[in-house]
Amino acid sequence: MREAILFFFIVVAGTAGELCVSRAMKSIGEVHDFSPRSILSFVLQALRLPWMWLGIALMSLGFFSLLAILSFREVSFVVPVSALSYAAGAFGAKAFLGERISANRWMGIAVVCLGVTIVWWSRR
């Protein structure tokens, strides 16, 4: 049960956080120049956006849940199971960012979920 709650935070809060960050990044626009100065100005620009901070807060919740679960579970179990965020990510990206998810992507995501199920069975 404790495990399920921690996985819920890792998958749902982590993914929601990434979607918020993605929304913030898209509003800045594509990065063309990789010089240290332009990367710094890009980071400073990002830190001014409320979506960025909401994203960081949600991702932090996911991160601390990850630390907690890593204290009693193997890395090779926890990280593959957290791949459930693919499914969460696709639904979120469609609803919240307006990305179009093609049939191929849905198929890939379904295969990922099958893999997660198999890893879950390998639980000791």
Partner: protein
Amino acid sequence: MTHTRRLQLKTIPLILICIILGPLGNVLLGKAMKGVGSLNSVRILDLAPIVPRVLMSGYIWLGIACLLGFFTAHMLLLTWADYSYVQPASSLSYVSIATLSYFVLGEAISPLRWLGVAVICLGVFVVGRTSPSTTGAPKDA
């Protein structure tokens, strides 16, 4: 050069950086947290004495440094590529997480778990073959 080709030239190296740094960070966090002991309680007061021990662990900071590198590369990717493309494509990292767990942490990985990881990667491969961006208007550069 087409827009898609130009996108791939900068997308692929950044995805490789993500595939190496992300799992390495997680493995280091795992090493640190195993050293701290199991967090069995859900009460904040019981967790409090563990926090300084976690913060004093060198592996935690190394892991966080790797994850920050991963996060920066990931943010850069997200300025031009779809989230639903980047997330799966950068996640060949499931092979590197299993490999690093085996070699660095000495975790026993059963054949069933390897099969699960392989199936996840197959799913990733299917998703990775779709177009990087669907929301922006593509232009030839």
